[in-house]
Symmetry: C2
Subunit: 260 residues, 2 copies
């Protein structure tokens, strides 16, 4: 399986322009799964909930249909952050769309900073299958809670699609630790650029990457580079949680004495 | 509070020589707490259980009394790995001894590789107070399970004393992640040198370090350097689990949806 990310700087509030950039990026490489950043089509730095809700859409809405048709046309599964509306609530969500038309929606569980004033938190971590790989999704700040990826691992996830708008410098290296402690593949699709609106200035840190079980960095790009990058992986490897013939990462857990 | 480690290469099976090295190391610096590696007085690479048991002692035994008198004489709390016997069982343990004569014994919970053929596993993680700091102890491979340090954090630990005989290259950087996700101080006291016995050759990776809450590396030494190194810390900082005014590392956990 070939897996990759699209690192770029979304134009704030301009869904059509961001779609155009994505379409343009497809010229070069076609992985089986392409991961995009958090809120990849709207930008991130909303002044308040009222502004954000204008860009939100219920699934299946127009942006979703564009992504679905692009996925079908190119034969590429696309997993992207987007701003979801469900009734009166809005969510910092990600949707995985397959060329066959199947889709899965994850709603960010751990909201960061002022996101708490804008979004409702998600209430579900889950794993699904695509091309015989077991896939889990996370969004940005979810990374800091080891319980999140541990839960996905215990649910059987082999590949974690991590949609990010990272502004702190820690996550990329921490994901190496996560892949050591869980023996999973992790694709972190981060954005680049700056958003300076409403008194908050965010500088996004790029350095999107793919990490293999055991903490092997397969691919990492620079903090400002733009484009689609991908690498071949064998998701089955993540099914083996043995570190050596005595130690198994999951069976060696001591749930009898943990208090977390 | 000043906290430090003694990185060195223990002589295998020669407790008196290792004690002598420790005594000699005190000339330069005197932290309030000095952390020593795992199994610092016996060496690590026992051929089998029968060999290991010869070096084990019940507390309070002769090595313990030597450490206690050294602690009292120098006014330094000493936390060191040692080979503990309890009835017919032996443990890969660590003992914290204060100059006032108090002591706490931790038994390694997650045994690595052939340790499973030699030691019994511990069954308790705990936190104690010393000089107004809340202290937790771990030994080497315990690091790879995020639940271990999370449990100590939830028990109130501010400073983790991590006694190590690391042979893999991952832990030192992973401890930066651990201190980001838990906002604790972590002192990793690792050993140097090589032990080649009974068909197993271990090269220990040194690079002992002290990390502050938020992943700040305060001190890291080389992979072969020997000596006592220390740094001033304020354990109270670890009591603040706020990342910003919206996010609290513990209160933001979503135990309602984790399955671990």
């Amino acid at each position: 399986m070939r897996i990759g990310f699209y690192q770029f700087s979304p134009a704030f509030g301009d869904i059509e322009k961001n779609l155009e950039m994505l379409r343009g990026s497809f010229a070069k490489e076609l992985p089986h799964i392409l991961v995009l950043p958090e809120l990849a089509f709207t930008g991130y730095n909303f002044v308040n909930r009222e502004e954000a809700i204008k860009y939100a859409e219920e699934i299946p809405g127009p942006l979703f249909e564009e992504i679905r048709s692009l996925s079908k046309e190119k034969g590429v599964a696309i997993s992207t952050g987007f701003l979801e509306r469900v009734g009166d609530n809005i969510y910092n969500s990600a949707v995985f769309v397959s060329p066959e038309g199947d889709y899965y929606v994850y709603r960010k569980v751990h909201l960061f900073y002022k996101e708490k004033e804008i979004f409702s938190p998600g209430d579900r971590l889950f794993v699904f299958e695509y091309r015989d790989a077991k896939i889990g999704m996370l969004i940005c700040f979810d990374w800091i809670f080891p319980e999140a990826m541990r839960t996905l691992t215990l649910m059987g996830a082999e590949v974690i699609l991590h949609h990010a708008n990272l502004v702190l410098p820690f996550c990329q290296d921490a994901m190496i630790t996560r892949s050591i402690e869980n023996r999973v593949f992790i694709v972190t699709a981060n954005r680049t650029g700056v958003e300076d609106r409403g008194g908050e200035r965010y500088v996004f840190t790029g350095r999107s990457q793919v990490v293999a079980p055991g903490g092997k960095l397969l691919l990492r790009v620079g903090d400002e580079v733009t484009g689609v990058f991908s690498v071949d992986i064998d998701p089955d490897i993540a099914g083996d949680k043995n570190i050596n013939r005595f130690n198994h990462l999951i069976m060696d857990r001591r749930q009898d004495i943990y208090r977390c």
